[in-house]
Amino acid sequence: MQTREAAKMKPFQNVVREINKTLNEMILFENIVNTTLVFLVFYLILTVLDITALFALIPALAYLGFYSYMSFRSYKPSIVESKYAPLREKLSTAADNAGMENPVVQELQYEVTSEMRNVGLSMFINPRTLSYKIFAVMALSFLIIFTSTLNIKFLEFARQKVPDIFEGPKGVGNFAAVKLNTSDDIYGKEDVAKLGDNELNIRIKPVDFKVNVREEGDTNPQKFESTFPKDLAVKETVAYEENIPQEQQELVKNYFKKLAEG
């Protein structure tokens, strides 16, 4: 009997857990690749239809959620059995009875564990399908870049234009503030405000710059006028003088003198 060897093996529950974990990871990977495809397809469609492309996230996330839920719920031993015929009905039986302890179950678990060594990860990945999907992802990405760059839109939806405030409101209440104000004190002269076809030659100096005296050369002597302008004139200051009679001044003087003497 193989029970002694079976006793040396790790518990079958661990084997089942490992199978579930590995398959979940693979399913997640496949779902992510598929979700990327779905996202890119919808992104491309929305781009050429001139609709906000980020809406493509909705079907992509819905796909990821639905298929992940369905895949994670699926019975993993059946997936392994479908890929490796010698394990058919054996693995699921062993997994369902992992907690049972009797010689027949132990022998089955030993047999299944030995057979599992022949099961490779490559059985669950179809390289051709996967490469097609990756190629499709690349192709779609390039398509999206080209359509965005060349601004290709098959169906352009009418966009609402920004209202021209200079035309004034159309039949909407009292919007006097929006009316064109042509007074010079705010906008200046109208002919100055209008640039027309004239070319602007503006040079903006950087905020932080250093003056190199050598490069700048000699300074131009500034001319200052030696005389003040005519409209400037000096006036004498007018002091305020009180007009108090002499006798009253004496009287006040004496009063304070007496106060000081006490």
Binding site: S78, E89, K90, T93, D96, N97, P103, V104, E107, L108
Partner: protein
């Protein structure tokens, strides 16, 4: 498990020395024995039903007895009765066991016995004990009743009531042999008669061990669910079936499948076991409705329909 397969292969080989063909019937009888159940063999006269059972008992070193059922057979003829015996000048009642006190009881043409006598077998089949008067006697284990009946000559017979038929784990159809098999039969038995020496393959203890081992054979949840679904469908499929099978059939189907797995040297039950054993398990447990009978459907056709639906 391979060793068990070898044992059963040897057993079948030994049976093949006496019985030509009838492999399916032999396998199903063995399944019934491994499940500690009883079997009803149905077939036309002269198809070696009795010989099959007798040979099996011989190969397993089991005590064999045969009851030839007739309308005047009394229950005490089966169970046994108290007789007056004189011991040292004193007369006292002593129980004289009937043919039921054996390991393998062949109830030949069971449908010829009266319902009263048929019901005497019920307690023995189900409880493995016999009550005579106020005393209950335990039967020696292992104990099997293998009953036979033929589908013709129904006049003057007492068809088994449903309750009694349900106590048989399997209803095994014994069919006519093929042309080649019949040629072999003729060669074997029409020539000079010579005794076939049969080797004893199993004994009581081996058989009891195997019976306990059958229950240890694991089954996957989806196969278990399908087994129950098959039996449940017999009750819900009113298009062809008037009365379906009881949960006893579900237990029987699972046990029989486990026994077949053991015989095949498998350590797990397969879906194929269910497909093959659903017929003998359900054959005597379903009653077709008028519409199905009008269409000429047999019970096996109805079972096939259910199996197809539950795949």
């Amino acid at each position: 498990m391979k060793n068990y397969k070898q044992i059963f292969d040897e057993l079948k080989k030994e049976m093949g020395k006496v019985i030509v063909g009838q492999e399916d019937a032999m396998e199903q009888i063995l399944i019934a024995i491994l499940c500690d159940g009883n079997a009803l063999l149905e077939g036309y006269p002269g198809l070696a039903k009795t010989l099959m059972v007798r040979t099996l008992a011989q190969l397993m070193d089991l005590k064999f007895s045969r009851i030839q059922n007739t309308p005047d057979l009394m229950p005490s003829d089966i169970t046994g009765t108290y007789i007056i015996e004189e011991v040292s000048g004193k007369r006292q009642f002593k129980f004289q066991p009937g043919p039921i006190f054996a390991n393998v009881v062949l109830a030949d043409e069971i449908n010829r016995a009266t319902p009263k006598t048929q019901s005497a077998l019920l307690e023995a089949m189900q409880e493995k004990q016999v009550t005579v008067g106020t005393n209950t006697f335990k039967l020696d284990l292992p104990f099997f009743v293998l009953a036979t009946q033929n589908p013709i000559e129904q006049e003057g017979t007492y068809p088994l009531p449903e309750a009694q038929a349900d106590r048989f784990l399997l209803k095994i159809s014994v069919n006519y042999p093929s042309y080649e098999d019949e040629l072999q039969i003729v060669d074997k038995y029409a020539a000079e008669a010579k005794d076939q020496k049969l080797k004893v393959m199993l004994n009581k203890n081996h058989l009891l061990t195997l019976q306990s081992l059958v229950r240890q054979v694991p089954i996957a949840n989806d196969i278990k669910q399908r087994a129950v679904k098959i039996i449940y469908s017999t009750r819900s499929n009113k298009e062809v079936i008037q009365y379906g099978a009881s949960p006893r059939a579900s237990i029987g189907l699972l046990l029989a499948s486990k026994a077949r797995a053991l015989m095949q040297g498998r350590n797990h039950v397969s879906s194929e076991d269910l497909n093959l054993l659903a017929y003998p398990i359900l054959r005597h447990r379903i009653i077709l409705n008028f519409e199905a009978e009008r269409k000429g459907m047999s019970r096996d056709d109805a079972i096939k329909q259910i199996l197809d639906k539950t795949k």
